[in-house]
């Protein structure tokens, strides 16, 4: 069972809709998990069997690459560009 780590509230003229959310450990996107309104599209996602973290359905079929690792790679690439004089 995926744990909820966040919470969304939509307050409108037709009432209040509440949604539990979680953050995908691979792509860092916030996803709806379950809602008080059945019309809200939810993404139950799953658990990565490598890092045992909560991930979204889009990342289920991809290799394990934790988001913190992605940020490290991103920063290293930026530093390399900077060292090469190709700062964006």
């Amino acid at each position: 069972m995926i744990q909820t780590t966040g919470y969304a509230t939509i307050v409108g003229h037709k009432g209040t809709v509440e949604v539990d959310t979680y953050t995908c450990a691979h792509c860092n996107s916030a996803r709806y998990l379950k809602s008080t309104d059945s019309k809200v599209v939810c993404d139950p996602g799953g658990v990565c069997r490598n890092c045992m973290a909560q991930i979204c359905s889009q990342c289920l079929a991809k290799e394990c690459l934790a988001f913190e690792k992605k940020l490290d790679l991103y920063e290293r690439r930026q530093n390399l560009f900077k060292a090469m004089g190709l700062e964006l």
Binding site: T5, G6, Y7, V11, G12, L71, Y74, E75, Q78
Partner: protein
């Protein structure tokens, strides 16, 4: 405990226009963990879709100095901007949050700071909240980000 800051801004609803953005610095990884958005004018019975996306250049906006939620905290290292006149350079396929709702609604999302939407420790990179689709109406919208660093 991480330092936490609030940034607010407004923008008239129009497609591919950014309301508010958080720009990172080389020394920190800001984590956006709270968002609230709603119309500040008389909203039309129309819909819009908003997304939080990554950018690699901040564009041109009205600067906003993030306010520390704890007054004992120092000034934020990240910068904020709203009411963009030049759009940030968004990274393709980097939607971190996509939400659609009626303009007469107010939307709030929050999580724990450690589960927030993180930006890399790279200058000029960051996260922006952008109107992607506006079915009609141009109501003034107000948005607030809380970020931790």
């Amino acid at each position: 405990m991480q330092r936490r800051y609030a940034s607010t801004g407004d923008q008239n609803a129009a497609a591919t226009v950014t309301i508010i953005g958080i720009t990172s610095a080389a020394t920190i990884r800001p984590s956006v963990y709270f968002l609230v958005i709603g119309s500040a004018a008389t909203p039309a019975d129309q819909a819009f879709n908003l997304k939080i996306k990554r950018f690699t250049a901040a564009g041109t906006s009205t600067a906003f100095t993030p306010i520390a939620l704890d007054p004992a905290d120092p000034a934020a290292l990240a910068a904020a901007g709203y009411n963009h006149t030049v759009e940030p350079t968004y990274t393709a396929s980097s939607d971190l949050l996509s939400v659609s709702f009626n303009q007469q609604n107010t939307f709030k999302w929050e999580t724990l700071p450690q589960f927030g939407l993180k930006a890399p420790a790279t200058a000029a990179n960051g996260l922006g909240l952008q109107f992607v689709v506006v079915s009609g109406g141009t109501a003034l919208c107000e948005a607030t980000f809380w970020h931790a660093e």
